[in-house]
Amino acid sequence: MADQLPVVRGTLDMLVLKALSWKPMHALEIIAWLEDRSGGRFGVDDSALLQAFHRMEEKGLVAASWAMTPKNRRARYYRMTPKGRTHLKKEMDKLAEYNEMLSAILGAESP
């Protein structure tokens, strides 16, 4: 297993929203999606993630309802709200801009 990286503050919401932008998922589906995409470097405890989902629900970024999993087990499914969609887009734009700035500075070749 590769080294796990801590998630930068404020970006977790973005990652979860990105996962949910494909389809509604329950908690483990979101976690598994993030782990797969990160190549195993995603290092947040499951219980903390669950609390993060609740917080996002509280902020109205996601909404949740109970439904059955393919294995016929009851699970809480999260889906992205319109507010979540705008939030994701805005945050991604901001991050892109920030990256651009960082690389412009760090990639400088003359003093």
Partner: protein, 911 residues
């Protein structure tokens, strides 16, 4: 009923607890589902089920119990925040719903909003008044409830108690030394509006008060610049007169320049130095505006001989109670101190009492007019608010009948009754707030009106709407919102779904609501109470207007020429000459003045109605002593007047003759009716002999009897009074100059001033008062009463009319179908109109009856406020009852006439 309340509370608690357990169960379920899914996933990847489960729990990052607690907490938080948000969103939707509802029925809404605006606005305005007059006390005074005004209680000649706040400075000096229960004692005089500022053409009257040097520190405040007075300045012979100017005067005259301190001004013709500036709105312990403060001049004269005149311009004492001392203890101590130090030799005065009364009391120790007025204002405006609420509840109930179907549909669709209640309460709160917003404009206007018309002397420093008024308005708005909402909401939410839905498009027929009838009648009761009050006060005022005062006060102007002081260095002989000239000025010019165009008559008098009374010892041959009447000083009052006095003032001759030219210097007198009746009962007094001043004086013959004239009050016991010719009694000198102008007295003042200035250009200022202006302050209580009762009664009448109108209008609309059917079956429209009107008119008649009963029961309270009017006056009560019923008849006729527009065919088509 009570059972169901308790049940409701229990249910609410149970609900909250159940909700919490549901949240926890959900959180646990979610956590275990996560763990199970993770375990499955790991098993799929080849782990043994046991290892997989252990790994799934490890991945939680903490023991299962801790994780569960964390997740429960975050779920709780989420639910809390979301339910608040949901609540707010619902509230927003409810408000929008309410606004839409109001906009859909513009007529209905504007009735309601206007009614509420009037009621809330008037209440807020009244609170503003009461706040200043009663609650907050005078501006800048620290702990006003620990301050007392000292009253002097003296037994009068007929054994009655006379209370006065006007006290001799001598007593003050003694109290300051001897009274031990006060932490401080100060003396002040009320503002007099007759001080002249400036010189010549720019001279104007300002309001000046005086106070002892410790006044400001006693009240707990200080000047904003310079200083207040020092004790040495209280000496009459202080070399340099000083003043402290009020904030308003400072802004007006000096543009707020701090260098005003040290400057000098001309006050009553002499230069004074400004030593300080009082804080903004400072009015001492009274509420009247004070432009300028002068030091209280304490002369150590003869002991207290001045009493019982109750003059409002006299000096008063204010004292601060020592910590822990009650007003009663301090009063006792002050009385002891007074009696110990009294050395005037008058038995009655030696036995007088002192007591400390609250600052809100007036000159006689009882409630001041301002206090009483403000208390009434609050009570009356509360009645108006109640009437308005009753009215609106009624309208809302009427509307809720119309909305039954809507409510039933909502209930059928699954809305909870609690949710429905909330919707309706939000709606009533929205109405109340809309009313309050418009009401603020009403409050600003009403506040201004009341201030300028009813309480013009109070120095108002803030506008009619300040933070405290706003806070009060908010409270009554919420109160109103709840009051008007609860009843209709409860009723609407109790709709029986199936029957309401079954009734189809038509609303359930004519089931009259007892509550609504009660409200219409109750509203009529309130209106009736106010109307009776208005009627009684209007009648009192009318009585006062037609009162025969024994003088035509509105036709008489008193002129007081004032001269500048002579410049320093004027020789004594010139001084003497000038003083003599000024003293005889009035007598010298009265004939010239009479010949002036625009002047009907002019006279001189020492002692006149509302202008000062005098008494000298009087003896009548054959009698040891004269009877004493409760209204008098003891000895009969005397006036020394010129021949034209009676024609000028308008006192009528009853028998005998008036003074005539032929009388020359012969000693003749006129007596008033009371004196004639008291001293010579059943006898004609003409020809009788009066011995003035001394028992061995020369006889003064009575030549006639004149009507009684008031001494100083509208309400006073008749007293004995006689008139002698001016100049015959040396102690009665320095007469007033009285003029009877042609035409309106007030508008003639300029002409009279010009005439005097033409005669003597050295006059600095001519004081001119229409006698009526001295009477007017005494009629204020009745004028105020009549005005405020009328105002509120009209308001209540409008509210009641609007209520009746809309109730009948709804009734007609609601029974549209029934009316149609009846018309189709041959009923005559006229009969149906009567049918619609009968109820409301009967209800207002019942209300009028009830209101009359309440008014009669409460007649004892108002009796003391009326003037020669019985609180049970049948004309007033009958008249206003008729008015009320007539108004409700008109208000119900208009909408009832709509019966004629009902189309029977439409009704039949529905069938």
């Amino acid at each position: 009923m009570r059972e169901s309340w308790i049940g409701g509370i229990k249910r609410a608690f149970a609900l909250a607890i159940r909700r919490m357990s549901v949240i926890h169960r959900d959180a646990d379920d979610e956590l275990s589902s996560l763990v199970e899914e993770r375990t499955d996933l790991l098993v799929e990847r080849g782990m043994s089920p046991d290892d997989a489960r252990a790994e799934a729990i490890r991945l939680l990052g903490k023991p299962l119990e801790d994780a569960s607690a964390d997740v429960r907490r975050s779920a709780e938080r989420r639910e809390r925040v979301m339910s608040i948000r949901e609540w707010l969103e619902e509230a927003r939707a409810d408000v929008l719903y309410a606004i839409r509802g109001l906009r859909r029925e513009m007529l209905f809404s504007s009735f309601i909003v206007v009614t509420l605006a009037l009621a809330i606005g008037v209440n807020a305005a009244m609170f503003g008044i009461v706040d200043r007059v009663l609650l907050r006390g005078p501006a800048h005074v620290v702990a006003p409830n620990r301050l007392v005004r000292i009253y002097w209680l003296v037994r009068g000649p007929a054994g009655e108690d006379r209370t006065s706040a006007a006290i001799d400075p001598h007593i003050y000096a003694n109290l300051e030394l001897e009274a031990k229960r006060f932490s401080g004692v100060a003396m002040y005089s009320r503002a007099s509006r007759f001080t002249v500022l400036g010189n010549g053409a720019s001279a104007r009257l300002i309001s000046a008060a005086s106070a002892t040097s410790n006044f400001l520190s006693l009240l707990g405040t200080r000047v904003i610049a310079g200083r207040f007075f020092v004790p040495e300045e209280q000496d009459m012979n202080a070399p340099q007169p000083v003043v402290v100017i009020g904030y308003g005067l400072w802004k007006r005259e000096f543009g707020g320049d701090l260098n005003a301190v040290g400057r000098s001004m001309i006050l009553d013709g002499r230069p004074v130095t400004i030593v300080g500036i009082a804080p903004e709105g400072f009015t001492g312990v009274e509420l009247e505006r004070v432009d300028l403060w002068t030091p209280m001049l304490l002369r150590s004269g003869p002991a207290a001989t001045h009493w019982g005149k109750g003059s409002s311009s006299g000096q008063s004492i204010v004292a601060r109670l020592k910590p822990g001392v009650t007003a009663d203890e301090a009063s006792k101590d002050a009385t002891d101190a007074y009696r110990r130090t009294y050395d005037g030799g008058n038995k009655k005065l030696a036995e007088a009492k002192l007591f400390g009364g609250p600052l809100t009391a007036g000159v006689t120790g009882s409630e001041s007019v301002e206090t009483r007025v403000s208390r009434w204002l609050v009570g009356l405006s509360a009645i108006v608010l109640l009437a308005a609420c009753a009215n609106i509840v009624n309208l809302l109930l009427a509307r809720s009948v119309r909305r039954r179907r809507e409510m039933a549909v909502r209930l059928a669709l699954g809305a909870g009754r609690a949710r429905l209640l909330r919707l309706l309460l939000t709606s009533s709160m929205t109405i109340s707030i809309a009313g309050a917003l418009v009401g603020l404009a009403v409050a600003a206007l009403a506040g201004k009106l009341v201030r300028y018309v009813l309480l013009p002397d109070v120095d108002w420093t803030t506008g009619p709407i300040d933070v405290r008024v706003l806070a009060y308005a908010t409270v009554i708005t919420i109160f109103t919102g709840i009051v008007i909402g609860v009843l209709p909401a409860l009723k609407a939410s109790r709709v029986d779904v199936s029957s309401a839905l079954k009734a189809g498009g038509r609303e359930g027929g004519g089931n009259r609501s007892v509550i609504r009838s009660g409200l219409v009648a109750g509203q009529a009761v309130l209106a009736m109470i106010l109307l009776v009050g208005a009627g009684l006060f209007a009648r009192s005022l009318n009585r006062i207007r037609h009162l025969d005062l024994g003088a035509q006060t509105d036709r008489v102007v008193v002129l007081e020429p004032r001269w500048s002081r002579l410049p320093a260095g004027t020789s004594d002989s010139i001084r003497k000459l000038e003083a003599a000239r000024r003293a005889s000025f009035a007598a010298d010019i009265v004939d010239r003045l009479r010949a002036t165009p625009g002047v009907e008559n002019a006279a001189l008098a020492v002692g006149m109605p509302f202008g000062g009374a005098f008494a000298v010892s009087l003896f009548v041959p054959g009698r040891d002593s004269l009877p004493r009447l409760p209204g008098g000083f003891g000895d009969p009052e005397v006036s020394a007047v010129s021949r034209e006095y009676f024609a000028t003032v308008g006192t009528r001759l009853l028998r005998g003759r008036l003074f005539a030219r032929e009388d020359g210097s012969s000693r003749v007198a006129l007596v008033n009716e009371t004196m004639a009746k008291t001293i010579w009962p059943g006898r004609e007094p003409i020809g009788e002999c009066l011995l003035i001043a001394k028992r061995d004086a020369a006889c003064t013959r009575v030549i006639g009897v004149v009507q009684n004239a008031r001494r100083s009050r509208l309400r006073e016991d008749p007293s004995m009074h006689y008139y002698i010719q001016l100049g015959q009694e040396s102690s009665l000198s320095d007469p007033d100059l009285i003029v009877r102008p042609r035409g309106d007295a007030h508008s003639s003042i300029r002409l009279l001033r010009d005439a005097l200035l033409r005669i003597d250009p050295t006059i600095r200022y001519v004081g001119a008062t229409v006698l009526q202006d001295r009477v007017e302050p005494q009629t204020r209580a009745w004028r105020i009463g009549a005005m405020m009762f009328s105002l509120f009664a009209v308001l209540a009448l409008v509210v009641a009319a609007v209520g009746t109108f809309s109730v009948v209008a709804y009734l007609v609309e609601q029974r549209n179908h029934e009316i149609g059917v009846r018309l189709a079956l041959g009923a005559r429209a006229g009969n149906l109109i009567t049918l619609m009107m009968r109820g409301p008119i009967a209800l207002s008649a019942i209300g009028a009856l009830g209101g009359a009963a309440v008014a009669l029961a409460g007649s004892r309270i108002v009796a003391s406020l009326l003037f020669d009017t019985s609180p049970q006056d049948p004309v007033v009560i009958g008249g206003v009852a008729a008015l009320l019923i007539a108004v409700s008849a008109v208000a119900s006729t208009l909408p009832a006439l709509r019966v004629r527009h009902v189309d029977p065919m439409e009704a039949l088509r529905d069938e």
